[in-house]
Symmetry: C2
Subunit: 385 residues, 2 copies
């Protein structure tokens, strides 16, 4: 374990991936909780719900009918946050003027997809085997591949097997424009703003490079330059393997860790132990290892408080288009941000102090690791058929 003192004193930890700090207050877990209780989730659901817009064969808001898909199915979000085409816009104010300085806006185009994880309405990733999750990893890879810039060094890797649709139910089509970034993510559970329990994730693709990946990319590049070509996350993974204080699970290709700088109580990261820039770099075996790591995280989460554990998950990897240096410095990794703190119904709120001053956590990442290490094995509940 790291210096025992850090279990008792309040301290800040540095996040080198974002270049930012978080406040850790380990002694604060003794605080009684009288506030909001989450609903424990896990109402029994049918395997097929005729009113669900994601179940096979059902009609969606757009009027389209879902195909009778088996595992994954991809379609353009009926309420996309960004669109492929829209009216043009250029700011009317010269940059130096008062309005030019303060009323800055730029248009964003893009495409938003929804991706179902299974035909079954009532399961989650935690219920699924690595083999079942592999189909999702492949679909992510297909969609990512279909959007890579022809100028990217990654484009050469677009092997025929990667080309969509490997799954007949992937409505990807040729993008109208070259997008800069693809954000693959999942909001799981009502506490994370998910409005449909049918297992699914989303993919938002934009002409702009969003804030978080831009921050990370900047830090990764700085490290690469300063360390004469080293990769931050590869070095960090090596250190975490050696220390073995924050490792929840590992296989040949990936580590599941509670990072040193975790903000959310049970935040984890899936990190490759070698330099992998994006999904397209993965061999078939490595795809299986990723599927296994995802299965491990999500099953342990559900086992922890014997509940359907809410979280937001996201994949960071190389931008779709960018300089050779940007693509070389990128490292594939997955973040899981779960809100629960003490039980199925007591969450951590990142509110006043966290919004106005600095993210703050109560238990240490090392304490969280211990708990996640101790809840491996079978899923605590039976898969409902």
């Amino acid at each position: 374990m790291p210096d025992k003192i850090l279990d008792d004193i309040s301290h800040r930890r540095f996040n080198p991936l974002r270049g930012s700090w978080i406040l850790v207050s380990p002694h604060r877990t003794k605080r009684p909780w009288q506030g909001q209780q989450e609903s424990p989730g896990l109402i029994e659901l049918p395997v097929y719900d005729p009113s669900c817009y994601l179940c096979p064969g059902n009609k969606r808001a757009s009027g389209d009918t879902n195909p009778n898909y088996k595992d994954t199915f991809v379609f353009v979000n009926d309420f996309s946050a960004v669109k492929e085409s829209q009216e043009e816009y250029t700011s009317p104010d010269p940059p130096g003027s008062l309005p030019g300085r303060f009323l800055k806006a730029e248009p964003v185009q893009g495409k938003c997809y929804v991706l179902t994880f299974s035909a079954a309405h009532n399961i989650t990733l935690a219920d699924m085997s690595p083999a079942e999750i592999l189909a999702i990893v492949r679909t992510w890879t297909d969609i990512y591949t279909a959007h890579i810039s022809p100028e990217s060094p990654l484009a050469a890797l677009a092997r025929p097997t990667h080309l969509p649709p490997s799954n007949p139910h992937t409505e990807v089509g040729t993008p109208k424009e070259q997008y800069r970034w693809m954000q693959i993510f999942e909001n799981k559970g009502a506490a994370m703003g998910c409005s449909n329990p049918h297992p699914h994730g989303q993919i938002w693709t934009t002409t702009s490079l969003p804030e978080e990946p831009a921050l990370e990319l900047e830090q990764l590049r700085k490290y690469h330059r300063e360390q004469g070509g080293g990769h931050m996350l590869v070095d960090y993974a090596r250190l975490e393997r050696e220390k073995n204080e924050r490792v929840v699970f590992q296989n040949e290709t990936f580590l599941v860790i509670c990072p040193w700088w975790a903000t959310w109580p049970f935040e984890t990261m899936i990190l490759p132990v070698k330099h992998i820039r994006s999904l397209i770099d993965l061999t078939e075996t490595e795809q299986r290892h990723l599927a296994e790591a995802i299965a491990e995280v999500t099953r342990r989460y559900d086992n922890l408080f014997e509940t359907s554990f809410p979280y937001s998950m996201g994949i960071h990897q190389a931008p779709l288009a960018g300089s050779d240096e940007e693509i070389e410095c990128s490292s594939l990794h997955l973040h899981f941000y779960p809100p629960l703190l003490r039980s199925a119904t007591v969450r951590k709120f990142l509110v006043g102090y966290e919004m106005m001053a600095e993210p703050q956590r109560d238990i240490t990442p090392e304490q969280a690791t211990l708990k996640l290490q101790n809840c491996g094995g079978e899923l605590y509940r039976k898969r409902i058929q």
Copy 2:
């Protein structure tokens, strides 16, 4: 109104105070909502609750008994996130080493206060008159003043009337160390992690300068240098007054606006129209104007969806200790971050995409302004006695 097109197309807006972008998707409000519903709050509460640890005369977790205070009462948080004294810590690893690079931590000392807004258990700022809120503004000023570094250019302003305790129920005492930052904030409502409805705020004071104020200070300094001594927020306030597109309320000293770059649906900012570095700079009349602005924001919020509107509020101002330039560049302002989007029960979730990629909002700040302009006047409900 700004370019009408921005009501229809997705675009990014720049936040010069943080140096960051947010994604705006105005067309997305048509999306139906089938997800989590917030409880509408506003259960009838008694004016005095014998089990509340904030009501006058009651016992707290620490064993202390609250005095029979009238308006504000300040005490050290029984479950402080940071403490005045703790064991020492220096990282054991040399900075260049692998662990030195990735396992960076620094100790943080500080003091956390709780501040009640009223003796009545069942009211909120929205129920209070500007005259009642003035007592809170004065107590904030007292506590801030008591913690200012003797080296700060602000120290000279510590007029005798400012010196605590102007209120006999302010347990401030002399800080053991010179702290760098004081974060004054309020979490209101269960949706914002507030565990006790008794009207109260918090004050966390730390040896470190936290992330958000550090980001803002950096941008304010940059602007000050680039504009040859201008102050960003003074220039911005002037522009917003001229444009009159995002102004919800104004008096002689303050504007209430939905900033151009607002992230939360009904986010507002209280902004002085002249350069004010911190609470201590305010004259008595300006203190009254601030109290009036706070009353306006909170009453309009409650009127908007006829509910007790949840939010987190925070005060940004000059650091307690810092260089003369840092203190001169600082601008007092208040942020209100409320989660509700469409009604008393439907909130905006900043989750997957927002956490992994970039904050995203649906209605434009101009649309939010119109709604807040139209709900002034009396509070929609009677003050419960």
